[in-house]
């Protein structure tokens, strides 16, 4: 909640134009141009998936779809995408679960403990922001194979969650810092235990930050590619992104079917975006380092 309020103050409180005075036509024109650059591929994508393959080949990608059909989607589902979809849901839910289990106590300790140990720990996580997944993928393959988790969804879930942690810690400590110490003192005088303070004060007041880390980690897990690519192999453990990649290498000429698979893989994300736009934008601004 707290982050939300500060954010609103920030954006709406000062309701004024940056480039002042007259409307800036040049900038408006540029923005419209960029709109075309962004929207045209999206239009082609959705248009292509709604027509049959012969229609698409005959009309070309830029033409208006004539005979609308959903057969591309049903076909994708019958060729395994239902399975991939389910696997991605399992991975995403587990990653979000793990992040929600691990990050709030950690952030609470970082914000409230203030010992040397916790500030060191915080620093480790901040340095962790800079580790790209490619840097550790070979040893990750080694660790996961040794642990007997190769080609198992658990083996994808664990590293994906681990790589979500630094950003989530950064976001949530930011939110928890905004809880005033008066509130903690009030609860202390009431004789509340640390555990009670955490569940009755810290967690409810960090809802905004929690929503952000849920959305952020869900997006990471849903769109993850490298870990599944390297750590899984069989049809049973294939996730959506990997399914897309395979589809592309095997049936690359079936463009409507391929693009329908792209839409399928993205639809839930777009749906979440409609409802959680604010949390998501904030999360990504957090990634950008404010």
């Amino acid at each position: 909640m707290t982050t939300n309020t500060t954010h609103t103050n920030h954006s709406k409180g000062r309701n004024r134009s940056v480039t002042r005075g007259r409307p800036n036509y040049a900038a408006g024109f540029g923005a419209l141009l960029w709109l075309c650059v962004v929207a045209l591929p999206l239009y082609v994508m959705i248009g292509a998936t709604l027509q049959s393959r012969p229609d698409y080949t005959a009309g070309g990608p830029l033409s208006l779809p004539r005979n609308l059909t959903l057969s591309n989607y049903t076909q994708d589902f019958s060729s395994g995408f239902g399975r991939y979809f389910l696997n991605t849901v399992v991975v995403t839910a587990s990653v979000v679960g793990l992040v929600c289990l691990l990050v709030p106590p950690l952030a609470f300790a970082i914000v409230r403990n203030r010992g040397l140990a916790t500030s060191r720990i915080f620093r480790i996580f901040l340095l962790g922001l800079a580790i790209p997944a490619q840097a550790v993928i070979v040893p990750m393959f080694y660790v996961i194979s040794k642990a007997g988790l190769y080609d198992n969804l658990i083996g994808v879930i664990l590293p994906t969650a681990a790589f979500c942690l630094p950003v989530c810690v950064l976001i949530l400590t930011g939110t928890m810092r905004d809880i005033t110490s008066d509130l903690f003192e009030a609860m202390a005088i009431d004789g509340a235990t640390t555990r009670r303070v955490f569940f009755q004060l810290v967690v409810p007041l960090s809802k905004g930050g929690l929503a952000t880390i849920v959305v952020f980690s869900a997006l990471q897990a849903w769109n993850g590619f490298l870990f599944p690519l390297v750590l899984t192999q069989s049809e049973e453990t294939k996730v959506l992104t990997l399914g897309l990649y395979d589809f592309q290498t095997q049936h690359g000429v079936d463009i409507p079917g391929l693009l329908a698979a792209v839409v399928l893989s993205t639809l839930p994300v777009l749906f979440v975006y409609l409802f959680a736009r604010r949390a998501l934008v904030q999360g990504l601004m957090g990634v950008g380092g404010k």
Binding site: G60, P105, R114, F141, V167, E185, I255, G288
Partner: protein, 329 residues
Amino acid sequence: MGTGTGTGTGASTGARASQDAGRRPARARRRTRAPATPSSTVARPGVGWALPATLFFGLFALVPLVLVAVLSFASWDGLGAPQFAGTDNWAKLLDDPVMIRSLWLSLLLTVLGVVTQTPLAILLGVWAAGPQRNRAVLSAVFFVPLLLSATAISVLWRALLDPNFGVPAQARWLFGDGNLLGSRDGAIAVLVLVAAWQFTPLHALIYQGAARAVPEVLYQAASIDGAGTVRQFFHITLPQLRNSIITSVILMVVGGLTTFDTVLILTQGGPGTDTTITAFYMYQKAFKGFEFGIGSAIALLLVVVATLISLVVVRMSGYDRMAGTKEGM
């Protein structure tokens, strides 16, 4: 997105945060001592609260980071046990023309990415920081590419640019034979274009936040002095955005050097090895060639180069001294 996040940003936030933490306890302690709180340990969680997450992160992120350094001095085919190999891997890499070229290619793509995305993102971000209603709607649309996975984006663009069934086939007057991905320059141009399509919104978002924070008085003063929109942009907005530019450039550098999915799906490193960038070469060596030791060495090299460049950017810009943008106020 997401794999590459900024070194410099992290470090500087850390510095600020720990200063914060250093200042606060004094105040808090003083205040709690005054009313003689019965249990001052309440709401002071022990280190135990931080341990599960820390151990988890250590096991799945930090241990592999140490292992990658160890494995870079070993030879391992992915099945048996790794064998110590001294500096063999490094010697091989130094002699490998594809490796050297891949580094240059990575740098080239990164520089091209920074050069194309930064002006676009600044313009879009500053524009989006304005108040009108249509900007909010447009910004929402601009944001969509960030939601799509790199895989989805690459598959989409590959389909769009398909020489037989894609846009080039329909617009031959513009694309000629239309096989953009079949030539070196075409493939590089496509990679730059797709990266811009994918990441400009993120950077525009950073600039949007920063542009909103520019103090209004500066513009008022400039207007009184008779400065027009363009002059205001170059003399107020741009200097005020300096720190955001650095943050954003570091993100682009780290992200650019670790680009992987797009290359794997769009070009497969080809034609030939013309777009075999370092991250992709690492994947090829390790997971296609089963030379995991060499793969580790490349990965380590990649991290070192990305960190060095970030440090140089931070140093050159004076960002590490946290030089204020508010001078002259």
